[in-house]
């Protein structure tokens, strides 16, 4: 199994996609969903209410996924995201109630970073297995917030051992002329146009500052990780720490910082749940979103764009499930069936017969389910992100490209 001295055939691969590709994908999606609405009569698929709610559901997942991205790009697997989010929800509750909304945001970030600090000290300094440390952090964070909540929130107005008092709300943005002006257009149900109007309305109505910040952070993360020296060095630690160290990069320091930032992102995700998606800290508020974030990151192939798409997808299904969207989710089944059949045809053209058969069978099965049942139980909606992630891992594991040294332990002086 020694490395052969034989040059491997370069595999042609599409590496960079232009912004226009993303735009085309978004427009294509809108058209597809519009079609789906027409065909199935599930009108709630693209109402501005749905889109607003999707945004609120997406941002915490995306922030958690960003947390995962920062950490894993530096080579540290972080399944403690859930715990760091939990700490964030408490931080938002405590600091938000006592010192105001923005202090709540900072508190969420700070507490998340405490979780990140534990993970960094354990994995980077003491070389503890990343998964073990992550599990420990999830146990500690849950216990610590419950302990602290009953220590600090009991006796406050509206507070108790399982919830904080109401947190003052963050500023939000409404551009009334646009929002009101488009209301009519959206309600007229013009094919595609109404869908566009709904999106614009969602973006101009009651948009929380934290939502904007969250989305900006995705962009900032991309720029920092891919366009700066700091980012290049950080990524090199995740791809090949030995190489990085041989070139004078202080690997352990970058890993440490990356995990701290990861904690900050996850903490902010928790803060978002407490302050935007809700108005106070509550026990169990995260509901596994840290893991969904992890799933979104994997779905997005450890890239910011893909990760955002994954978060959006998971946020969307979650929203449809919550908005009594049994019809809506049911309608999505048809979309999945058609999509699977389309992929099957595509695979057949590339002569991947086995894959094609697999997709065709999946498409037919899902299609049959669509016609056999009238609505999808919430339970199934809830498991969607996880099932999708398993499918992606199972079907496309060869195409996924996680950082090469992700999860490996690294000790200084290993270069050479």
């Amino acid at each position: 199994m020694s490395a052969p001295a034989v040059a491997r055939t370069p595999a042609p691969r599409v590496r960079r996609r232009s912004p226009y590709t993303y735009l085309a994908v978004v427009v294509g999606l809108l058209v597809a969903v519009s079609l789906l609405e027409v065909v199935t009569g599930a009108d709630d698929l693209t109402s501005s209410g749905t889109i607003s709610a999707t945004l609120v559901a997406t941002v915490p997942i995306a922030l958690a996924a960003l947390g995962g991205l920062w950490s894993e790009r530096a080579g540290i697997v972080n399944i403690g995201l859930e715990g760091m989010m939990i700490l964030g929800t408490y931080g938002a509750g405590f600091f938000g109630y006592h010192y105001g909304a923005w202090a709540g945001v900072l508190g969420a970030i700070l507490l998340g970073m405490v979780g990140g600090l534990i993970h960094a000290v354990a994995t980077v300094i003491f070389d503890v297995d990343h998964i073990v440390s992550g599990v420990a952090i999830n146990i500690i964070a849950l216990g610590a917030t419950q302990y602290l909540a009953s220590r600090t929130f009991v006796g406050l107005p509206g507070g108790g051992s399982t919830q904080s008092p109401t947190i003052p709300s963050l500023p939000s943005l409404t551009i009334a002329p646009v929002s009101d002006g488009l209301q009519g257009l959206e309600q007229r149900n013009v094919f595609v146009i109404s869908e566009v109007a709904a999106v614009v309305r969602a973006l101009t109505t009651n948009l929380s500052a934290l939502t904007v910040i969250g989305l900006l952070l995705v962009l900032v993360t991309y720029l920092v990780l891919w366009k700066t020296t700091f980012g290049l060095r950080l990524r090199s630690c995740g791809e090949s720490p030995v190489t990085a160290e041989s070139l004078g990069v202080a690997v352990l320091r970058y890993k440490f910082v990356a995990v701290l930032i990861s904690g900050a992102m996850a903490g902010l995700a928790g803060g978002f749940l407490a302050m935007v998606a809700s108005s106070n800290y509550r026990d169990g508020q995260t509901g596994g979103r840290g893991y969904i974030g992890l799933a979104a990151m994997i779905f997005g192939n450890w890239r910011p764009g893909g990760m955002l798409a994954g978060s959006g997808l998971f946020g969307y299904t979650q929203t449809l499930g919550l908005r009594s969207g049994r019809d809506s989710v049911h309608a999505l089944l048809l979309a999945v069936a058609v999509l699977a059949l389309a992929v099957a045809v595509l695979q057949l053209r590339r002569r991947h017969v086995r894959a094609a058969i697999g997709f065709a069978v999946a498409g037919v099965v899902v299609g049959a389910v669509y016609f056999a049942i009238d609505e999808v139980a919430d339970d199934f909606t809830r498991m969607t992100p996880y099932v999708i992630t398993l499918l992606v891992l199972g079907l496309f594991s060869q195409r996924l490209r996680m950082p090469a040294a992700d999860g490996e332990s690294y000790r200084k002086g290993s270069a050479g």
Binding site: V77, A122, D129, V132, A136, A144, G288, Y291, S414, G416
Partner: protein
């Protein structure tokens, strides 16, 4: 060699003791910072448990022990089965349905339910095993996903299979008929009872020890866990071992919920205890995957759980503080084992150097890569 044996025993005990002390110190620090009474808290936790409490500790430890075993099987093979949590819940649900339907009479029904639980747990874990063996998917990620899927799936199926108890909000499966329940063992003068399942847990521990340390299969499993490459070269079918190890781990996980089901709850409901799988990870680490070590770890965790209950009433401290202790133990135990391991390795190299006639270069280790 008796001096060597004593030293080995001391070294073996050093790591968990070190970890425990560190965890207690850190927990005390948290209490101190939060302004809670440190000494009162510990004196409450460390006070002698009463008979009833001892029984609770043993019962809780039984459950945790099985969970620790399930995780440890994976660990010995270098597989991280985070999914014990999902596996035991879906397995306990299946067992509850089967036992509740009572297709077979008396204990035959019990046996059937246990077999079903193990099969369901194994199948659920087997998905992750297959994904790993055939597609190279990390079992950590897939078992995390499967945990959530099992939560939703069980919730869905429970609603289909459940009967609502009159005047209650929770829904449950049909109760297990009395003849199929596992009777408790009288304890402490017969005042209280402990789960009859304790016997089965101990037998599981024995089986675990025997299979891993005495059989060829166990040897293959440990060899694969230590070095996949050496295992392949020695003729072990590693892919098959991955699937089998996950199946066994899942089957053991299937047992986790059963002591509660057959000894206490008699039905599976929406309030059935969750989170036992994650404690199992901590306990397997603490017990160093050794059946006796896991037992001690399970007793320790159960002790902390039970003894923290009166904290709120007696000293006004939230009992969740022990979760911090338990979580910190996971970290400190790993660190202290590593410290002890390095120390021991150095001792061994010195012993070898002393035993050989002339000094030779030891095999390069990570530190001495040439």
């Amino acid at each position: 060699m008796s001096g060597g044996r004593v030293r080995r025993l001391l070294l073996g005990a050093a790591a968990p003791v070190l970890a425990l002390v560190a965890a207690i110190l850190i927990t005390s620090l948290v209490l101190l910072v939060a302004g809670d009474p440190v000494l009162d808290t510990w004196s409450t936790i460390l006070s002698a448990p009463r008979e009833r409490n001892v029984a609770n500790i043993i019962n809780n430890a039984t459950v945790l022990y099985l969970s620790g075993l399930a995780v440890a099987v994976g660990f010995r093979m270098n597989l991280f089965n985070i999914g014990v949590d999902g596996q035991y819940r879906i397995a306990a649900f299946a067992a509850a349905v089967v036992a509740g339907e009572a297709w077979l009479p008396g204990y035959l029904n019990t046996v059937l339910a246990i077999v079903v639980a193990m099969a369901v747990g194994a199948a659920w874990a087997g998905i992750a095993g297959l994904l790993r063996a055939t597609r190279g998917v990390s079992e950590v990620i897939s078992t995390i996903m499967l945990n959530f899927i099992s939560t939703s799936l069980v919730a869905f199926l429970l609603r289909k299979a459940a009967v609502r108890a009159p005047g209650s909000n929770s829904i449950n499966t049909k109760e297990i008929p009395e003849g199929s329940r596992i009777p408790g063992i009288p304890f402490g003068g017969g005042v209280v009872e402990i789960y009859g399942f304790v016997v089965l847990a101990v037998l599981s521990g024995l089986a675990y020890w025997f299979v891993l340390n005495r059989t060829r299969f166990g040897f293959d499993l440990r060899a694969t866990g230590q070095s996949t490459t050496a295992a392949v070269a020695s003729g072990i079918n590693v892919r098959r071992m991955i699937v089998i190890a996950m199946l066994i781990s899942g089957a053991a996980a299937g047992l986790v919920g059963l002591p509660i089901l057959f000894g206490d709850a008699y039905s599976y409901g929406s309030t059935f205890q969750s989170g036992l799988g994650f404690s199992g990870i901590a306990i397997a680490l603490l017990g160093r995957n050794h059946p006796v070590g896991i037992g001690l770890g399970a007793l320790l965790f159960a002790y902390l759980n039970e003894q923290s209950n009166p904290l709120q009433i007696l000293v006004g401290v939230s009992p969740e503080i022990v979760a911090i202790t338990q979580g910190v133990i996971v970290l400190t135990v790993v660190v202290s084992y590593e410290v002890v391991r390095r120390y021991r390795r150095r001792l061994e190299q010195q012993a070898v150097a002393a035993a050989t006639d002339r000094p030779e270069r030891p095999a390069p280790t990570e530190e001495v890569a040439t």
